[in-house]
């Protein structure tokens, strides 16, 4: 099992008492699967994503990636897990504004000490159709182009898992469609496990498994997504 959670919960303390953002959740995702988590805004999808990726700590329960329990690791060790096994795509692209497209893509590989970072980054940027724009800074690129850079960056370290948080949420329908295609195409080519948070049912349908998050409760959708 590549990703596994056991009775995973997340609570936060507020002035009105404890708020249960994520109710006890059990989830198993095997390598190579594509998984979508759908739900309304504020339902807890992004919280789950943060926990699965080791960006946040659970209130109780366990989450493990590749049989490593993230709860047993400190921040540094979790960072190491991310560096080795995880890629990310965000709704707001989250590129480093002071680095070029090429440098942004190289970044994870460089952080992992990969000597061939630049070559890999160039190949990936060519794959996403941005070979002409490698020296451009994020503010010189359109939203769609920025997300393509983000996709290239997500694949640079050949991660086992790709976490995507509303990857087309900030894009118009046409651009969003192209980005979806690119994402699935590259995912398929590399055999990466994809965990995607979205409120777009059409996008969710392209995944092998779909889960719905509702008020912190996660249930797998077996029939039509809606």
């Amino acid at each position: 099992m590549l990703i596994q959670t056991t009775q995973l919960t997340k609570n936060v303390e507020t002035s009105e008492g404890i708020l249960h953002i994520l109710h006890p959740t059990d989830l198993q995702i095997t390598a190579g699967e594509t998984v979508a988590i759908v739900g309304a805004s504020g339902s807890g999808k992004s919280t789950l994503l943060g926990l699965l990726a080791g960006l946040d700590l659970a209130s109780s329960g366990d989450v493990s990636i590749d049989n490593v329990n993230l709860g047993d690791l400190d921040e540094e060790q979790r960072a190491k897990v991310r560096a080795d096994k995880v890629g990310f795509i965000f709704q707001s692209f989250l590129l480093v504004p002071s680095l070029t497209a090429l440098e942004n893509v190289m970044l994870p590989a460089e952080l992992a000490g990969n000597k061939a970072a630049e070559q890999q980054a160039r190949e990936l940027l060519t794959k996403v159709g941005l070979q002409e724009r490698v020296q451009h800074y994020p503010n010189q690129l359109s939203g769609g182009e920025q997300q393509r850079v983000a996709i290239a960056r997500a694949f640079v370290g050949t991660p086992k898992i790709l976490f995507a948080d509303e990857p087309t949420g900030n894009l118009d329908a046409a651009t969003g469609g192209k980005i979806e295609d690119l994402l699935f195409e590259m995912n398929q080519a590399s055999g990466t496990t994809l965990v995607m948070v979205t409120h777009d049912n059409a996008l969710a349908k392209r995944c092998q498994r779909v889960f719905r998050m509702d008020g912190g409760q996660l249930t797998e959708v077996t029939g039509d997504v809606g």
Binding site: A83, L94, E103, R153
Partner: protein
């Protein structure tokens, strides 16, 4: 690998101008410190050398007795130059007339500093003397030529010796400012001293050793000598110790420059702090992304520390270069302007400047940096998350400690640093409180205003917390600027008051009572403004409260253990110039007792220094002997006298009823421009017995020094203004970033650019104006403390600043805000939204 990431990030940030303010702040603090340190060091070197001329040496040991040869030998061994000077009163005899003179016997080398000016004829062309009078010769002051009807080549008798008069003495650097208490000088060679037979046990003689040399050698010698000195017998003096107007001007200027530089450095440090905070906040996302992508904390630390080090080293390098160039340009200009050569600066300034830049950069970025590194990776999903607040105490400790350290490092005075620091902290707390109250009040006022105003007020209120901090830095910057401006104005005005353009440059003595009306008429005819005529009656003070004073303490008495100590008082030891007057002279203030109002009872007013020295108090009965007539008067007032004013001043002033019956001569002072000097002869031709003392040389010297100091002050002021503007700029930029999101939303919702520009402008105008009011208030308070405690100036209110402060605040902060906002709004909405994304 991390180093290349760091370098790439830095390169682009620099290119995009994101680090400009922070770099500029570091550059400015280094430039300011270096140029100021070098400039003041060199200027001070020049000034001290110039001022040393007033002593004719770097240090002077004054003694009632001849000093041991060992002290002179030690000075020579310490590589110091020395010269001897012995001064005493005596009667000089020539042309069958007698006159009281000050005899000055000097050894070769005199004067060690400054120049002796001589002429071949009274009021003839001056030239610099090479050496001193040869044995058997005397150089005599012009006044004595008039008094005794002398000519060059005549013989003058002093004691048992006869001297040929070979030169007219026109200027002695060490003549001092007390022209009325001294008799005309006769300069002779030291080797002639014994031959006069005037140096007897009990003679009232001042033995002076003049020293000159390197400051380290002087300090070593001083450390060796001073423990051996006897307070009653010896007096060790440097230029700064003197009560001359110059010494005080120098001290004030030095304090001003020190203070202004401190404030400049604190301002630059504030700019670094504001810019560093902003820089770190803008990098929160970058850190979150790096962490999400798997960067370890250590790597991120290295990336940003390297950033900072590169930025700091680059800025320090530029700052050092600029600072060096700046002071070189200014020094060259000052040198050309004033025709003086200033000594070279030392490397101390470079260390101080680089240290200051490094300290500012490291300590003020410590907390923002810790917070930055602490940003959780989860920020990629939740943009509200920032760095932890748990380091806040460290922030206060680091920035407070740094400011204190800078104050101390720069002033070298723990007490001053502590006072400024505590004062500043209290002021900051009060400013914070007042700004909150102002914001609250202005919110209510704004509710009745138009839409742009309402938006502005709502903005102010919503960001009350952030705004009060911003207002604190606006207020501090404006306050410090006003403070330096006002102080400079006060100092210059004070100097100007002391030495107005029409300051008297000639003193008249020995005017016969019968000549007074005629002389006054001549002055009026020629449109020469003269001070009052003061009658002078020579007399001796012989007893205090019926106890005779000891005028001449003999050597034997002084050395005798049985010498009476408490009963007998020391007198002046010489004849005094006594005067009478109905009104208090200008530049005199009563410190005890009361000035008489046409009171016929005999009474006297005494100068405070004399009162202290002779232990005289109000009500003491003083006995005087004037030409054999003895009378006693009570002391009814004690006066503070401004000795630096160029007017006749007196130790003892009597009421008219007491003294007016005695025969008197008159003295006065007047101003005559140099170009009218030729009129002097014609003016005084009918009054051959009147003596004229020319003070132009002394006044010119003073003016020159003050001009140098004023330039230095202007230079400091420009640097402080630059630092202040930088703080304002950094703060406006930081504040606008907080408003950016809101502006973008309003713009997206269709708010016209005009409305947004106006609302932002109004918001900054209000912030600036309120800061201006607070700043002026704080400035007045600080100024009052500084004027009374540090600069010994009269405390004054600066009404014009009450207008200038708020107006300048509103104008500068408002226009900076508008400019920044205009730049932002010029982008199209899509660009703006992307910027926020």
């Amino acid at each position: 690998m991390w180093a290349s990431i760091s370098w790439r990030l830095l390169k682009q940030e620099l290119r995009r101008g994101e680090l400009t303010i922070m770099a500029a702040a570091i550059v400015l603090s280094v430039t300011a410190v270096l140029s100021l340190a070098l400039f003041t060091e060199r200027l001070q070197g020049g000034l001290t050398a110039r001022s040393a001329e007033f002593l004719a040496a770097d240090r002077v040991l004054s003694s009632r007795r001849d000093v041991p040869q060992e002290w002179l030998d030690k000075a020579q061994a310490s590589e110091l130059q020395t010269a001897q000077r012995v001064v005493f009163n005596s009667m000089a005899f020539a042309n069958e007339q007698l006159a009281l003179v000050d005899v000055k016997a000097v050894s070769a080398g005199y004067p060690l500093r400054g120049e002796l000016l001589i002429a071949d004829q009274p009021y003839g062309d001056e030239r610099v003397a090479q050496g001193i009078p040869a044995a058997g010769e005397a150089w005599v002051a012009a006044a004595l030529f008039q008094e005794l009807g002398l000519q060059v080549g005549d013989t003058i008798e002093v004691g048992d010796s006869r001297f040929e008069i070979t030169r007219v003495l026109t200027y002695e650097p060490d003549v001092g400012f007390s022209v009325f208490t001294d008799s005309p000088n006769v300069l002779i060679n030291y080797s002639e001293l014994q031959g006069t037979g005037l140096i007897q046990p009990g003679s009232r003689v001042r033995y002076n050793i003049l020293y000159a040399g390197a400051s380290d050698d002087l300090a070593d010698y001083e450390a060796w000598l001073t423990p051996q000195l006897n307070e009653d017998t010896h007096n060790w003096r440097s230029v700064e110790d003197g009560d001359s107007p110059l010494a005080r001007s120098l001290q004030r200027a030095e304090r001003f420059m020190l203070l202004a530089s401190l404030l400049g450095v604190v301002l630059a440090a504030t700019a670094v702090a504001v810019a560093a905070q902003r820089y770190c906040q803008r990098n929160y996302d970058v850190v979150a992304i790096l962490k999400t992508l798997g960067a370890e904390r250590r790597k991120i630390q290295k990336i940003f520390i390297l950033h900072l080090l590169l930025l700091t080293s680059l800025s320090i390098g530029i700052g050092l270069l600029l600072g060096w160039l700046l002071q070189a340009v200014v020094i060259a200009w000052v040198g050309n302007h004033l025709g003086v050569t200033l000594p070279e600066g030392s490397l101390r300034g470079v260390g101080l400047a680089a240290g200051t830049g490094l300290l500012c950069a490291v300590m003020f970025t410590l907390y923002p940096l810790l917070r930055l590194i602490d940003v959780p990776p989860l920020r990629v999903l939740n943009r509200q998350l920032g760095g932890a607040e748990r380091w806040r105490w460290l922030h206060w400790l680091a920035s407070g400690g740094t400011i204190y350290a800078l104050l101390w490092l720069y002033s070298g005075q723990g007490l001053l640093a502590t006072a400024l620091f505590v004062g500043g902290a209290v002021a900051a707390a009060v400013l914070l409180l007042i700004s909150r109250v102002f914001i609250k009040a202005s919110r209510q006022a704004g509710m009745q205003a138009g839409s742009a105003w309402r938006l502005a007020m709502a903005g102010l209120q919503r960001r009350a917390q952030a705004n009060s901090v911003q207002m604190l830095s606006f207020s501090t910057a404006i306050m410090l600027l006003l403070l330096v401006l006002a102080l400079r104005y006060d100092l210059l005005e004070d100097w100007q008051r002391q030495l107005p353009d029409d300051a008297p440059n000639y003193f008249l003595v020995n005017v016969a009572q019968s000549d007074v009306p005629a002389l006054q008429q001549r002055f009026a005819e020629r449109d020469i403004e003269a001070n009052d005529m003061y009658p002078v009656v020579p007399g001796r003070m012989t007893a205090v409260n019926a106890v005779p004073v000891v005028d001449e303490v003999t050597k034997e008495e002084r050395e005798s253990e049985q010498a009476p100590q408490s009963e007998q008082r020391e007198g002046f030891g010489r004849e005094l110039s006594l005067t009478w007057r109905d009104t208090l002279p200008p530049n005199n203030t009563i410190s005890a007792g009361q000035w008489w109002e046409e009171d016929p009872k005999p009474q006297v007013s005494i100068e405070s220094g004399v009162a202290e020295r002779l232990r005289l108090t109000l009500g003491d009965e003083l006995t005087f002997n004037i030409g054999g007539e003895v009378f006693t008067v009570p002391v009814t007032s004690i006066r503070e006298v401004n000795w630096s004013s160029m007017q006749p001043n007196f130790f003892m002033i009597f009421n008219t009823a007491t003294l007016s019956e005695f025969p008197a001569t008159y003295i006065s002072s007047f101003n005559l421009p140099q170009e009218r000097k030729s009129e002097l002869y014609e003016l005084f031709r009918p009054f051959p017995q009147v003596s004229l003392i020319d003070l132009d040389a002394i006044i010119d010297q003073l003016r020159e020094v003050i001009a140098q100091v004023s330039l230095a002050i202007l230079f400091v002021l420009v640097l402080v203004i630059l630092a202040g503007i930088l703080v304002l700029l950094a703060q406006v930029q930081a504040s606008l970033e907080e408003r950016e999101k809101e502006l973008v939303i309003l713009r997206t919702l269709g708010a016209p650019a005009k409305l947004l520009r106006r609302s932002v402008t109004y918001e900054f105008v209000i912030l600036g104006a309120i800061s201006g009011v607070i700043a002026t208030l704080a400035m007045e308070l600080s100024l009052w403390i500084l004027q009374t405690q540090v600069f010994e100036l009269e405390a004054t209110l600066h009404w014009r600043f009450w207008l200038v402060g708020p107006l300048a605040g509103a104008l500068v902060v408002g226009s900076m805000g508008r400019l920044a906002c205009t730049r932002l709004i010029r982008r199209n909405t899509a660009q703006l939204i992307r910027r926020l994304a």
